[in-house]
Each structure stands twice: as C-alpha cells, then as structure tokens.
C-alpha cells in the first residue's frame, strides 16, 4: 500500500517536532500547533526522543554532533506520514539541511532525503498540504507580522500566514516596514555578536512600533523572544505571540515576555 492510499484510508499521522525553544520556553505554541493539526484532520504525536534540530552545532561548524543529532531526529520521526515544526528555521534544518549532512554515506543520505520530504513548517503545512483556508479563530487585535528569514527565504513562506490571518475575525494586519529583514536573532549570533544583534533588533522594533500594531506575530519562537525581549526592554506595550497561538484561538497564556510595559 502506498502512503497516499494509506492516508486516504485514515488520518495522516503527524510527528510534531516541537523545537527546543517551544519545549523549554513556550509550551502554548506546542499545544496550539497540536490543536491546529488536529482540527485539520491529523493525528498528532509528540515523540519523547526529541531535543533540538541541531542548528546550534550546525551553525558553529560542528558537523559530527549535528549529524548525531540528525540521526536521532530521523530515527524518532521517520515513521510518521509528516513531520511538522512550528518554526521555519527548524523545519528548514530538517527539510533542507539534513540530507547534506550525510553526503557520501549513501544509505543515510537516501534515508535523510526520504525523511526531508516529509518535513514541513506548521503554517505552510496547514495551507499547502492540509488545504486549510480558515482556522475559525477570532481575535480583536491590530497585529503586524515578521517574516522570519529561514521560513521566508529557504521555504518560501510569505503569503501562507497572511492568508490564514486574514480569516481571523476581528484581526487587522498592519504591515511594518521591512517585515522581511532579519530581526538580528540568528541563533548563537545574538550572543556571539550581541552588540550587532542589538543594532539590528533595535531597527526592527522601531519598525514594529511605527506600524501602529498592538501585537507582533511571527512563526519562530527564537525571533519572537529576541523581538519581545527588546520591545520590553524599551518599554513598549506591544504584545508578542507565535502565530499558531492566534490561529488556534489559544491566547489565554500571557504573551511572550509578559504583557504591559
């Protein structure tokens, strides 16, 4: 039986790759992702053998550790029909970068290639694979949306979040200037080059404030923590959330880095 016949017969089984930052800092995004996936007709599983996608090692040049972590992720997730992550950055790591880690090792390369076909970023998975047009959420808010770099440039995610947000009743999107420019997070970059990162995020929060929005959304918790941290340090009252929380109608948790100034 091919996998598509398989899927027609039953709900697609989705392995939710929560990402380390959601796991540690923002479980609500995990639950919101699970709800969105379930509402879209998926059976959601959260394997316990997940830690991180390996980007800290990968981007520090540590191929050996990256590969070990990648093997671990592939082993834990390859049995699912789909692997979905609420992060463009981590999804792109799984989808675009894992196969290259095994170059020269034919068996693993092929296995990683097959695995990468199943991997998706959450929002684009909902719109492009599960054909979700409306999540039925409502929220009275003026929001602005930041396009996180990996999702935008490696996975081509630009219109998908905006289409779903347009269907959220009561929600108004105020585009900021340069929504497609990096927020300065860059994983370990923001620690290694914290002064430069600060200059970049300062420009970003200036654009967020100037948009007139009272809430900032994006699809990556890393970028969101960076921007929320800067907004709060500057005394901004803009609230910061992952887009999944809004689309799932799960906004009872305080926003990232709290509310108020």
């Amino acid at each position: 039986m091919t996998s598509s016949e398989n899927m027609a017969a039953r709900q697609p089984r989705v392995g939710l790759f929560a990402t380390c930052l959601v796991d540690l800092f923002r479980p609500s995004v995990g639950f919101a992702s699970a709800k969105l996936l379930q509402d879209a007709g998926c059976e959601v599983h959260v394997p316990v053998a997940q830690t991180c996608c390996g980007q800290p090692a990968y981007n520090t040049g540590d191929r050996a550790d990256t590969r070990e972590i990648a093997e671990q992720v592939i082993e834990a997730f390859e049995g699912f029909d789909f692997v979905v992550a609420p992060s463009g950055s981590c999804a792109s790591m799984l989808k675009k970068h894992y196969p290259g880690l095994f170059a020269g090792d034919a068996a693993w390369e092929e296995r990683a290639e097959r695995f990468s076909q199943k991997c998706h970023e959450l929002i684009s998975f909902l719109t492009d694979v599960m054909m979700v047009r409306d999540t039925g959420a409502s929220l009275d808010a003026k929001i602005t949306y930041h396009d996180s770099c990996s999702g935008l440039r490696e996975l081509g995610i630009k219109e998908q979040p905006r289409k779903l947000l347009a269907k959220v009743s009561g929600l108004e999107l105020q585009e900021m200037k340069d929504s497609d420019v990096c927020c300065g997070f860059g994983g370990t970059f923001c620690i290694k080059y914290s002064d430069i990162s600060n200059a970049i995020v300062t420009k970003k929060v200036g654009n967020i404030d100037a948009s007139g929005a009272d809430m900032l959304l994006a699809g990556d918790v890393g970028c969101l923590m960076n921007m929320a941290g800067k907004l709060k340090r500057q005394g901004s009252s803009v609230e910061v959330r992952h887009i999944a929380e809004v689309l799932a109608g799960m906004t009872s948790q305080p926003p990232i880095a709290g509310s108020g100034k």
Partner: protein, 478 residues
C-alpha cells in the same frame, strides 16, 4: 589604516557608536535596495538570466585553463602582452616593472578591487611612482588614507561634510571661500582637479569586469567615465584582473551584463561598458601605445574543486552587502578586509587563511538575504558555514563557544538525560520569572540580557505538559 579582520568585534563595537558612520550607512539601504528591486521587477527574464549567468561561470570554471589559454592567444594576436602572476607580490612586481620601463612618475587608476587586494598603491608609492585614484569615491578615500568600505561605493561610509573637509585640506590652490556645501560642487571640483592628472599620467591602470576569451578583450563597467579616460589617455594601459574574470564570448558577457548593473545600482546598464582589445592601432588617433594584462591567481586556483569554488562566480556587484543587516549595522571597514560584507566573509578566508579571519564568516545571522539577491546565485551562507566547519575541525573556534557547544551537545544527544535536566531546570527558571514573565538580567545569559529582556519559560516543558495531558486522556473513566 590597518586591515585586521581579527579585530572585527572591536571595530564593529566602535562602528556602532560612530554617529557620522551610522548616518552615512543609512544611504546604503536608501540608495540600493529599492532600486535593485525595481530594476529586477521590470525585467521578466531577470531570474532566468541569473540562472544562465551562473551556468556560464560554472562552465568557465570547469574549463578555466583552456579559456585562459584562448584568451591569452587573442590578447597577443591583437598586440597586447599577457603577464601571469601567481601571487599578489608577483603582480605588484610586474606592474611596477611596466611603470618603470615606461618611465612613469604618476599613474592614474580606474576603480579596481583587485589592485586593492594586492595593495598596489602602497607599492607604487614606495617606489617613487604616484598613483592617482580617479573614481570619485576612490579619490576621496585616497585623500583620507583609507581603503574602500564598499566594493562599488568606496566612500559610502562618509557624509558630504567630511568630503568637503578633505577637499579644503588638500585642494589648497583653490579659493577658500568657495561653496562646497552640495555634492554637485564637490564632484565639479574633483572633476577639474583630476582632469589635469589624466593628461599628466604616463600609465593608466584599470581592473576588468570581464576578460573575453573569444576576442582577447577586457571589459570595464563604470558610470563616471574615469576608467575610460584612465585607459585612453595614458601611454600605457595596464589591466590587472584575476583569472576567474574570464567569460567565453561576447554573448556570454551580455548575459552577465544584464544582471550586473541591475544588481549593483539598479541601472539597466551602467553608463559606460567598454570593451578594450590591444593597444592603439596604426591608424588610431588616440589610445595607449601599450596594452598589458596582468592575470592574477593569488589563491583562486586553490579554490577550484573545493566547497568554495562557487565564490569564483562573483562579479563584484555589491548586492550582498547592500542587503546585509550586519553590513548595514557596522559598515565595511569593521570587517578589516579588502572585501567586506557576505562575499568578503567567504572570499577573505580563502585568500588570507581562516586563522586570522575567522570572525568574518561567523558574523552572520544566516538570514539568507545575500544569497537571495546574488545575481550569480552564490550560496554565501552555506560557504560561511563551511568556514565555520574548517575552524571547528582545526580547533580555531573560541574556547567558550566550543565548550558551551560541547556541553549542550552532550545533553542534546541524550534525550533521556536532556529531559531529566530540563524538567528540573525549566520550571525553576519559570518560577524566578515572577509575574513580569521576563528577566531584566540573568548571570548566565548576559550576552542576551545586556541588550534585551529574556522571556521567562511558561512553566513546565512542552513535553512534560503534553505527556501529562496524554496520561490524563488514557486514564480509565476519563
């Protein structure tokens, strides 16, 4: 001014608080990004041309030896001379020798990054020959004793008031009361001063955007016309170009020209695209008596066949730095290398070794905007990552980063241990987060909290909370 990539962090810190510089850097975003986008959008074939431009260069690199031989044959056939230089030192020696044989006292120069790479001006000066930069931006920074902060806009780090100050300091033969408050007046003054220099110069030195194998032609692409005056008015024209500038044919040149100016300045074509083939012909009323090409390797042949080969497709348009958030923040000089920005972060370690230049490929958020706009589709972030890998393999990665990473990786590779650690640590950290849900400062996260608050974890980890929810669902009677 010293070139020192190893001081990147300190230079960047200074650049970030340099008010003049920060004001000037605003011009990069204002001056380039929108214009490039507009030019690209106006040409439906732009992306197809980028693909073809990439393919042309890949083809050239795979046959570089043969195209160089063909190019050389055709230069000689048109009366020119080809000199091969393995190193920067060889190239400097060759150029100096040509200048000395021509009895040169001054040489004019068109804008050329390759002569920056080989530090030609210092070498000529040290040997009693005065080099005169004629591109407006290059002229300005030469007056200041600086090196370019951008590969196509060398003086982009300056404001007009600084240029006015330099002109008043140097052009002392002109009336003190003259009005230099606007760029147009500054340009007019430079034009007049440099006009005399072209005629006085014995040798004109330019770089090349392309070397055409089919015809033995060198091509320069400029907007000011200074490169043309430099190479037409001197008795001797010296072209200094690196080996990867080769393209097979006139048609191939046209393909790449269509993406070059659009990517660089947002023009459809630069004002002057000049194809030069050999010296003055017998019937010619103008042009140089001698035409020399110095073909420079300087480490490029060693990049072929490696993970850095794609970098040799670079056509020096500057789009990567024009779109780089790190470049926007610190400017070109902070990199401490001839080539700044993303292309410099890949090329500089190839030319100078990773030992002293390791900061450059690390100073990137991997936002990917450089690759997205590169007309030659060079995977710049990927190659920066390769440099980080070379560093890591050779234990050049800073120790704190290395130990920190190894500590983290120890847990990341052991899910059970990781779960145990975070299931204690995270709720504890959450507790300390208090009602504000953020930390203003945390002793072990100063790199973060120096500039921004750290959001507090919600409570338990997602996996803890999920497992508990699932367990409740499973319980009988639920």
């Amino acid at each position: 001014m010293e070139l020192a990539a190893k001081h990147f962090k300190a230079s960047a810190a200074k650049a970030l608080v340099d008010v003049q510089l920060q004001k000037a850097l605003g011009n990069v975003e204002k001056g380039f990004i929108g214009k490039r986008q507009k030019a690209a959008d106006a040409l439906p074939e732009f992306d197809a041309l980028r693909d073809n431009a990439r393919d042309i260069k890949n083809h050239v690199l795979a046959h570089l030896d043969l195209y160089l031989e063909e190019y050389e044959r055709n230069v000689i056939a048109s009366g020119g001379t080809v000199h091969w230089a393995e190193t920067a030192e060889d190239a400097r020696r060759i150029v100096l020798d040509i200048c000395q044989k021509a009895g040169a006292r001054t040489v004019t120069k068109g804008k050329s990054m390759i002569t920056e790479e080989i530090a030609l001006n210092d070498h000529l000066s040290a040997n009693g020959i005065e080099p005169v930069e004629t591109d407006l931006g290059e002229y300005i920074i030469q007056l200041r004793g600086e090196y370019p902060s951008h590969i196509i806009a060398p003086a982009v780090h300056l404001n007009k008031e600084q240029v006015e100050g330099d002109f008043r300091r140097v052009h002392t033969h002109l009336p003190e009361g003259r009005d230099l408050s606007e760029p147009v007046a500054l340009l007019g003054e430079a034009r007049d001063v440099l006009r005399q220099r072209y005629f006085a110069a014995d040798v004109g030195i330019t770089g090349a955007n392309f070397l055409i194998a089919e015809t033995g032609t060198s091509v320069i692409v400029t907007n000011e016309g200074n490169g043309d005056l430099t190479q037409t008015l001197g008795k001797v024209h010296v072209v200094v170009a690196s080996i990867e500038k080769i393209v097979p044919t006139l048609e191939d040149t046209s393909q790449i020209l269509r993406v070059l100016a659009r990517s660089a300045t947002g023009q459809d074509m630069s004002v002057y695209t000049t194809f030069s083939t050999g010296p003055k012909r017998t019937e010619d009323p103008d042009g140089p008596d001698q035409y020399h090409v110095v073909l420079l390797d300087n480490g490029r042949s060693a990049m072929l066949g490696t993970e850095y080969q794609d970098m040799l497709r670079c056509i020096r348009c500057g789009a990567c730095m024009n779109h780089c958030p790190v470049y926007h923040a610190v400017g070109g000089h902070a990199y401490g290398s001839v080539y700044p920005g993303p292309m410099g972060a890949v090329l500089t370690p190839s030319l100078n070794g990773i030992e002293e230049t390791g900061q450059l490929p690390n100073a990137s958020t991997f936002c990917g905007r450089c690759e997205a706009v590169c007309p030659m589709r060079i995977p710049l972030p990927k190659m920066m990552r390769h440099w980080r890998e070379r560093e890591f393999e050779r234990n050049l990665t800073p120790l704190t980063a290395r130990y920190g990473l190894k500590f983290w990786a120890f847990f990341a590779k052991r899910p059970k241990l990781y779960r145990l650690a975070v299931s204690f640590g995270v709720p504890l950290l959450s507790l300390f987060g208090g009602s504000s849900r953020r930390f203003h400062s945390l002793p072990f996260a100063r790199g973060w909290t120096r500039h921004r608050d750290l959001p507090a974890p919600e409570g338990r980890t997602f996996l803890q909370a999920w497992a508990q929810r699932e367990a409740l669902k499973q319980e009988p009677g639920q």
